[in-house]
Amino acid sequence: MGRAVGTRPSSLEQRAVLAAAAAVAALTVVWPLGALVHGALFGAASADELIPARTWTLFARSVALALGVLVGTLLLGVPAGVALARARRGALRAALCLHLLPLALPPSFLALGAAQLVGPGSAFSSVLLSKLLYGPAGFVFVMSIALAPVVSAMTWVGLASLDPSLEEAARLVASRPLVLAKVLLPASAPFIALALVLVFSLTLSELAVPSLLRVDVYSAAVFARLGGFRASPREALLVSLPIVAVSFVLLALAHRLFARVAGDLVLRRESGAGTPLGPLLMAHAAVAAVLGLTPLVALVARGAGSFSAAVPWLGASVWNGLRAAIVTALAATAIGVPLGHAVARGLRWARVVDACLLVGFFAPAVLLALGVVQAWNGGLTTLAYQSFLILPIGLVGRYGALAVRTFAVSTRGVAEAYEDAAELSGHGYLARLVRITVPLQWRALLAAFGLVLTFCLRDVETSILYYPPGGEPLTVRLFTLEANGSPGVVCALASMHVLATALALAVPVWLVRRGQ
């Protein structure tokens, strides 16, 4: 059948809802970045604002490290993803799901945990291991185990999206490993490539791990230079120029890959599930899971004795972080539903808003954060800037794209005819959205909420520059304590964060499982 696709007439209701969503994107991404550019163009200049030679060296070093992390995440993540897609038995799949846990935590926790294992005065302390950990190799290792779950999850989703007949046809002519290597993984390549783009971007933005492991990288140097009281917009832009260029390349890549992935994404629950894993694959997946979990176990073990000592350090930081993450996730989901729906249905200017939000995600974290400071600190918005609201404002700009993209991908998998039928029955845009679109995609709604919540709970690099006085989240407090706090207290606080994150994520996960 020649199904007509393309722009459908949009109603006044839809335009109003999308305009509200666009206003949120404008206030959280366009205005901050615009204010930064304005400040750079018209602000006072000084001689020391030129890019120093060392910046280029650091930038090259950071790119090299990020490439190392790409290799690490590929080696760890792809086999684990295959195992996740194949495992049918609950216990095995649950064990493998634990491998995904580090994704929900700040990567610095893994560095902290690893330091408890091999650092000075620890169980497996040795000079060599310590040297390895506190250096580029340690950075690549920690970031690889922290971000391998991104690759695993996307490999899993990619394999689950394949038509089972693709594998069945290949199985008639080739062995299992060959089918996997020559048919299934290449067919899932867009998903894996998208994961690698995300890994690269997250590695370049990472701040806490290099600071903790004392590795000189670009993001930490930029933060050190601009995180002071007198950050100059011109300096921020100049210093960030190399990474802005890389961000735009990543953005373009991600944009193309998102489109490919969304076209392929039709989850088939039985696709390949239950196929024997094979001892090599199982061993490899087990190693990936153990590598990710061991530092966390060490962290909790080290912190267990210091829980009571850590409580006074907590203050309101757990609540600050949780509250900001929940408000951000709610706001991002609220704009993500109409925008994601409109993007999937081909509305051009929704795509423009989506592109703005993607810029917020791929732009250097420190740049967006400085933009938030520049735009919101002063004038009528001072009140919002001084309140806890500034955290969700900055975080929506940074992570709002995740909600939009999640819902867009999901909407593309749902036949437009459901909405057409409702429209022909006389239902307006909002009624269709609330009664048809959202109920049909409630899992995507929860996924969008959970994804944004996860990224907010692990965020350090954005909120550290503009959290309100006394309103810092636990991740930021930990970042400041890591340098000079007692290791026991730091580990205990990190363990508490792990617990709070697990509790916060348990609700959407439980709801999805209950729905299934």
């Binding site: 059948m1 020649g2 199904r3 007509a4 696709v5 393309g6 722009t7 459908r8 007439p9 109603s11 036949a415 005819a417 459901y418 057409d420 039928a421 409702a422 429209e423 022909l424 029955s425 006389g426 239902h427 307006g428 009624a431 009664r435 048809i436 109920p439 049909l440």
Partner: protein, 240 residues
């Protein structure tokens, strides 16, 4: 009065001309079968009439009311008083059978007692009495076809659009459904446009056939006349 009147309607998508200067009209109560090769613009034509697609140019009248004029939507889809049976049926899976019909009536502002009565009456008419509480996904293929038809007819539309509604039905179900659709259309004097790839469907539901090729109308006549002298090779093959 004309039930449907399209004058010089064109639809473009990027470089592709989906419909090119399409004109035709239908009398009230008339059925029109639309055929053509894949990608000829049949579904686009239905979506233009439904108001789900805005034509770049041309005019569309429904019951003498101008609903589209030169790229402008004057009457949106939800106010056109028509219903559609989709190729994949598009029954809302999160509603029961009754819920599907009730939701279709909800926007009409009908009192709930009247709505319930209409739903039961329609289910009864299509042979689904007692199926109201069933989940859509638990229905067989034939039952789903009937439920989709019931949802379309429950609003008592003036015009029914059918987009290859029986393409996935087996021969037995198809025969029963064709009889049911024909009876329902004639007893309510409902106009219908039926997009089909099956000449027997076209013959069973309509006397007239409009053929589209590459977005253009290449034939618009009675099926009998077109069978005797098919103007294009496609129609020759289609009508046997």
């Amino acid at each position: 009065m004309k039930a449907v009147d399209l004058a010089a309607v064109s639809v473009r998508e990027g470089e592709r001309q989906l419909l090119d200067d399409v004109s035709f009209s239908m009398a009230p109560g008339e059925s029109l079968a639309v055929a053509g090769p894949s990608g000829a613009g049949k579904s686009t034509l239905l979506r233009v009439v439904a108001g789900l697609r805005v034509p770049a140019s041309g005019r569309v009248h429904l019951r003498n009311v101008l609903v589209n004029d030169a790229g402008r939507v004057l009457v949106p889809a939800r106010r056109r008083g028509l219903a559609m049976v989709f190729q994949d049926l598009a029954l809302w899976p999160h509603f029961s059978v009754r819920g599907n019909l009730a939701f279709a009536l909800e926007a009409s502002g009908m009192p709930s007692a009247e709505r319930d009565r209409r739903v039961e009456e329609t289910l009864d008419r299509v042979g689904l009495a007692g199926f109201g509480t069933r989940e859509v996904l638990s229905l067989s293929g034939g039952e789903r076809q009937r439920a989709a038809l019931a949802r379309a007819l429950v609003t008592k539309p003036d015009l029914l659009l059918l987009d290859e509604p029986l393409s996935s039905a087996d021969a037995l179900i198809k025969r029963a459904m064709l009889t049911l659709i024909r009876d329902l259309l004639s007893e309510r004097n409902t106009s219908a446009i039926i997009v089909t790839h099956d000449a027997s469907e076209a013959r069973a539901l309509s006397k007239r056939l409009l053929c589209l090729e590459a977005g253009c109308v290449v034939a618009d006549d009675t099926i009998e006349a077109l069978t005797k002298k098919p103007p294009t090779p496609f129609l020759g093959a289609f009508l046997g």
